[in-house]
Symmetry: C2
């Protein structure tokens, strides 16, 4: 078992089995005498990795046949530009749901390319952050798409329901929640996710896109930012980040061996509940700022009463082998990110530590 549990928001923990396999194969992948990182992306060996990764992902997420699966270089921030560049060529209107810092980043980039309307915004007027119900959203009937962020990594705010957008394509930045629970892919136009939280290591971003949305982009769109080019070339227009793709493939295979998305969903639910329970039963020693109905199961942020206590918490946690718990610099406090590869043992250790710490300093 790992001697350290790493609660980083991303890059984040990778399953130990995946690391052990990558380690074992480092100098000789499947008797080729070469590391997978040394192999041509166009060769038959790497094609096996790619084909298996796509097959496993399609099986895990039950992806319909009319969706392309792309593995593109860079992080999810590339998609903040690619989505509007590719979807706003004929209709400039895009609706965005703003539930936090990552939504705002997607919005800022989209505004450079189209007519962006914020159809709903996180309700910060109440004591706790709350996603407004869809009944009060101001969606436009003629938008080219609606973009939302199912899980906000920094705020720890998550949708536990699916927005209904009728015929208007729904676009989701699932960087921090992909593969964490079963979803109905057919309800989405585009799903994208950086790999460094639930699918392995940084450097590659997954894009699942319905085939009718793969079309002529805005003029001037860089070639590599065109879904059309990437789909036609099966993400091989230029040299892809092969090792990141390989680690993603190992992670997907590991997920299958563990029993698939449903098993992880149950595990993630238990992991998050344990943390929220210790927070809610701490007599406000720990405070989570999010309404229970939209708390994240992936990122659990909480505050302590003073900066000194927070610093002490982070320091003692690190000594106990519980690392990278510092909240994002924009919000401060503490944040435990508990993606699929975080084992329940890690959460149990954190829960025990939190109880002890509250007892000691409460």
């Amino acid at each position: 078992m790992r001697k350290v549990f790493n609660f980083s928001a991303g890059p984040a923990m990778v399953a130990e089995e995946v690391l052990l396999q990558a380690q074992a194969e480092m100098l000789d992948w499947q008797d080729t005498g070469m590391s997978i990182m040394e192999l041509s992306h166009r060769g038959p060996e790497f094609k096996k990795v790619v084909d298996q990764a796509e097959a496993d992902l399609r099986e895990l997420m039950v992806i319909p046949k009319n969706y392309y699966v792309l593995f593109l270089a860079g992080g999810a921030s590339t998609q903040f530009a690619m989505v509007p560049l590719n979807l706003l060529a004929t209709n400039k209107k895009a609706d965005y749901i703003d539930t936090g810092i990552w939504s705002k980043k997607a919005i800022a980039e989209a505004k450079r390319y189209g007519n962006v309307h914020i159809a709903a915004q996180l309700d910060e007027s109440d004591v706790r952050l709350r996603i407004p119900s869809q009944t009060v959203w101001s969606q436009r009937k003629d938008a080219a798409y609606v973009h939302y962020t199912p899980n906000e990594t920094i705020g720890g705010v998550e949708f536990h329901w699916l927005p209904q957008t009728g015929n208007i394509p729904l676009v989701a930045d699932m960087s921090s929640s992909i593969l964490s629970r079963p979803i109905d892919v057919s309800a989405y136009g585009i799903i994208y996710a950086g790999a460094q939280k639930n699918i392995g290591q940084a450097g590659i971003t997954l894009v699942i896109i319905r085939d009718d949305l793969v079309k002529e982009p805005l003029p001037g769109t860089p070639t590599l930012y065109q879904y059309l080019i990437q789909a036609e070339n099966k993400s091989f227009y230029n040299t892809p980040p092969t090792y990141s793709w390989y680690i993603a493939s190992l992670t997907l295979a590991w997920m299958k061996r563990q029993g698939g998305v449903k098993v992880f969903a149950e595990r993630n639910q238990r992991k998050a509940q344990k943390l929220y329970d210790v927070i809610d039963n701490s007599s406000d020693f720990y405070v989570n700022p999010v309404d229970p109905e939209c708390r994240s199961r992936m990122n659990v942020p909480f505050n302590l009463k003073t900066d000194e206590l927070t610093a002490l918490f982070l320091d003692e946690a690190k000594k106990a082998g519980l690392t990278n718990l510092r909240g994002h610099k924009l919000v401060g406090g503490v944040r435990a990110s508990i993606y699929n590869p975080m084992p329940e043992e890690g959460v149990n250790a954190l829960v025990d530590f939190m109880r002890e710490f509250a007892k000691k300093y409460g």
Copy 2:
């Protein structure tokens, strides 16, 4: 010693020492209890990797202080767009030197953003491919920059002299020749290179850019494609490809331990000469299509008389542990890519094999 020598054009061989170190550190990087791929890009641990990589690169290439060093996600093809998008905002004129397939790709992308003039083109009229001397180039005096490809990976054509462009910034796609010989960085405006040939694994591209060229880009340039944003954020605007960066850092450190760029330049010269010697002394059993004055020291392409003989050569070479020698699909034949991490033993083994093969079938 490696049991297989991999002559792939990229992704390509990585130094064995680098792979062994990566393997040893896979589950526990410097006593953190974590893999480097699991560590936050914003943490102090990864900063050590980044700072050391930049310091080593600056030392190896003697990079002046007025140059930024960026490590950007994606391959060199991203730069085909970034260069014109960032350099043509006020002056749309760009001169390009076309010496092969990679030059043509850069040219095609630049034409989408500016007024591109081909100032010189590979001379294919002669028996052997030849880079025209600069005396016959038709450079424009008011171009925003001149772009060239010092080494053409597919054609095996290399500049062994530095184009003189006066006050006009010289931009070089050094993907397949960076760090293979000493160069005068101050003679360039921008040097860029995908990492998967001489600097490790795919997924990251190095950009060395003179500070006065970091400026307002064309309107609509995606945020991540802006040198200004990337330079201001030290390549950390969004999550970078951390593991590719780490492998680059290990490769740069290995180069330093080996004695630096001069040592590799001598080694590369010897390696290439051995191959050209066996080709030139084969009574046309092997033919290299490039004028000796502009033959590449990184990629040595050659042809055999028939497709059948080529297929047999590739098949028998593979059985002898000499792999990925197939020429690029656009030109066929055989190609031996012999970047820095290819040891001299690998070239010796190939030379011996070529002699034997020519004796047997010649």
